[in-house]
């Protein structure tokens, strides 16, 4: 550690260590989340889920990952090769970089930038580009369909997301994530802005292409949507990106609404993780309960209902702050 500090300076060392920690976290998180999803789904469907591999199927995901890594990387003939190969990487990297500014606890934050929230929101838009790349390059009508739907959906749901985040920023007065957490030492913002919380969770679920907004991957309509032609490790990267994205969305919701790492007795990082995983459980609960919305209803819902509501929330917040 001291050696690294000598060569790169404190900040550099911090970044390297942070990067390694993040990669480790992302992998472990994905492993855990996939197992959790399967168990949650199973118990909601009155069955036990994976039980064979390891105690209660705990190592099942490892087995699946090993299997995926051993699979042949099939590239269909007529695909646009450079874009086809780049797409899984582009979908994964921005999400990874978002971890730079997430405050796991008071001190566990890799780089507390003063534009923290803006950085994350900017990076969370990039995976849409990757989905479009994947769909287009696959040279498959179903894939293009899925990609087009995904782009329209993401654009539509990005806007209410940004507006609700603005409502919180107005209250805090800073883009820095640690400031936002610190401002919630008295009351969590979910109590002061319940509507914003609901809108944020809805949009977050839509941003990560989770059910009931999972039209881009709608299995029963489009076979597998934009990743129809992907198999093996490339498919695994899409999956990894989806679960990591879920983590980021829940992490931001925790920071903005649930008081970040605040909590009695236990260390901050434990509280943070508990809140994040509670929100992820909520997203999983949605998936296994609701049917899928139809595409035009999805877009209508975003433009005609969520955006006006988010604007109204912003106006009321501004008004209340002004009058105080």
């Amino acid at each position: 550690m001291e050696l690294l500090a000598q060569f790169l300076g404190i900040e550099g060392a911090r970044m390297i260590v942070g990067l390694i920690a993040v990669i480790a976290l992302v992998s472990v998180n994905a492993l855990f989340l996939i197992w959790m999803e399967r168990k949650v789904a199973a118990h909601m469907q009155l069955r036990p889920g994976p039980m064979e591999v390891g105690p209660h199927g705990a190592i099942q995901t490892v087995a699946d990952a090993l299997k995926l890594m051993g699979k042949e990387l099939i590239t269909p003939d007529e695909v646009d090769k450079p874009i086809f190969w780049l797409a899984p990487i582009v979908v994964f990297l921005p999400v990874l970089l978002s971890f730079l500014v997430v405050p796991f606890s008071q001190t566990w934050i890799i780089r507390d930038m003063n534009v923290g929230i803006v950085l994350i929101l900017a990076f969370s838009t990039l995976p849409v580009l990757a989905i479009l790349m994947a769909g287009w390059a696959s040279n498959n009508k179903y894939a293009v369909f899925g990609a087009i739907r995904s782009v329209a959906q993401n654009i539509a749901y990005e806007i209410p997301l940004l507006i609700t985040v603005m409502s919180i920023i107005l209250m805090v007065g800073s883009f820095k994530l640690s400031d936002i957490v610190a401002a919630q030492s008295q009351y969590w913002y979910v109590l002061l802005q319940p509507l914003a919380f609901i809108i944020y969770i809805t949009c977050g679920t839509a941003e990560t292409n989770r059910a009931p907004f999972d039209l881009p991957e709608a299995e029963s309509e489009l076979v597998a949507g934009f990743h129809t032609e992907y198999s093996g490790m490339r498919f695994a990267l899409f999956f990894l990106a989806e679960y990591t994205n879920m983590f980021i969305v829940s992490a931001i919701a925790t920071v903005l609404f649930l008081g970040g790492w605040h909590g009695p007795f236990l260390p901050g990082v434990i509280w943070f993780l508990l809140k994040v995983y509670a929100l992820i459980f909520l997203m999983m609960w949605f998936r296994w309960t609701f049917p899928r919305v139809r595409f035009d209803q999805l877009i209508t819902f975003a433009w005609k209902i969520l955006i006006p509501l988010a604007f109204a929330n912003l106006l009321i917040t501004a008004l209340v702050l002004k009058l105080r």
């Binding site: 789904a41 469907q45 059910a211 299995e219 029963s220 309509e221 049917p291 899928r292 919305v293 209803q297």
Partner: protein, 370 residues
């Protein structure tokens, strides 16, 4: 291979024959403009096995197992239609206990078919959980039927003249327990599905079938009942022991998908009523007619027997020329007519709607292909 041209505004998309939502090997050729469908043409025949030809080369009893392979989900109704047609030709009368057993098992089978439809339909709409609940209920039911018929799915239980195996006490107590359990489950389905806003938005005012279309296309079953026509062969052309039971025919009013959905769910409840009454009134006596010849040799003639299956009317048309093998058997299956309306319903809808409409027609493709 797709050919592109700058002047073309529509493109062709192929739904199936391997597709998670087409309930069998069905292919639908879609011509689309963006996400809207301009033309839909079902292509069938991938599962044609030549059942009607087989009928001409087997004697009457040997052909009986084929009926279960035509519609595997409501096999007992097909058993019943065929056996009743042969009985009409031979002039056999089934004793009362035999009729009651036929009704009880056929109604249980109807419930199991509707449960499969319910689960698979909601899976098409994106809800992953109800199918597992439905199949859980169905396990119970299949175990009951397995006890006396010997099979879980493709039943070959009825014989011309009656049924070969009687019910035992364990079956009766098991069925009563099942009825109680399913009634509480219906409340769950109602709360989770029927009242779900997303589900209602996907199914209300979609795929509307008018009464005129019902007549012109020869639709039967929940398709016409959803549109407000109270046509159920168990009431309109009563057969077997049905006149002795008190049940209603649920009908819808608009003819959209939601109406058909509600009709089928209510039908399951009515089937439970019929089974309850049948178990209460079950008479003692023989289960098979006396003097059924070993070699069935009906007199020359023709017969058309209609029964109500889970999908609509199954009509068994037999032409006999006095031989031990039928001269011609025509199986009039409900899904055949019901699917032929799809091209008209699909115009100007989205693919998501097409999947919803196709599910609401409740096709079993093997019976269309025979």
């Amino acid at each position: 291979m797709i050919e592109y041209s700058l002047e073309e505004k529509t493109y062709t998309l192929n739904l199936g024959p391997q597709h998670p939502s087409t309930h069998g090997v069905l292919r639908v050729l879609l011509e689309m403009e963006g996400e809207f469908i301009t033309k839909a043409e079902p292509v069938i025949g991938y599962g044609h096995r030549g059942h009607e030809h087989m009928a001409e080369n087997r004697n009457y009893l040997q052909f009986l197992p084929n009926m279960a392979r035509v519609d595997y989900l409501h096999a007992l109704a097909f058993n019943q239609g065929y056996c009743m047609a042969v009985e009409k030709l031979m002039g056999l009368a089934v004793p009362e206990r035999g009729e009651f057993i036929r009704v009880i098992t056929a109604e249980l089978n109807r419930i199991s078919s509707h449960l499969v439809w319910l689960g698979a339909y909601l899976l098409d709409l994106g809800a992953f959980t109800p199918i597992l609940y439905c199949f859980d209920d169905r396990e119970n039911l299949l175990d009951l039927l397995d006890r006396i018929t010997g099979s879980r799915l493709t039943y070959c239980f009825f014989r011309p003249g009656g049924v070969p195996q009687d019910l035992d006490d364990e079956f009766i107590t098991g069925t009563r327990a099942f009825i109680k359990r399913l009634r509480t489950r219906f409340k769950d389905y109602d709360n989770l599905v029927t009242k779900n806003v997303i589900f209602i938005n996907r199914t209300k005012d979609v795929g509307v079938i008018t009464k005129d279309q019902c007549v012109k296309y020869g639709l039967t079953g929940p398709m016409v009942r959803g549109s407000g026509i109270a046509y159920d062969i168990r009431k309109s052309e009563p057969y077997s022991a049905y006149p002795q039971f008190d049940f209603v025919i649920p009908i819808g009013d608009k003819g959209d998908i939601l109406d058909r959905y509600v009709v089928r769910v209510r039908e399951m409840e009515q089937s439970l009523r019929i089974i309850e009454q049948a178990l209460d009134k079950l008479p003692n006596g023989p289960i098979m007619a006396e003097k059924v010849p070993k070699r069935l040799k009906p007199a020359a003639g023709e017969v058309y027997q209609a029964v109500e299956t889970a999908r609509g009317e199954f009509g068994c048309y037999i032409v006999s020329q006095g031989d031990i093998k039928p001269y011609r058997i025509k199986l009039r299956v409900p899904s055949f007519g019901n699917l032929s309306i799809l091209p008209e319903l699909a115009v100007d809808t989205l693919v998501a709607d097409l999947v919803a409409i196709l599910g609401s027609i409740d096709v079993v493709v093997p019976e269309i292909d025979r």
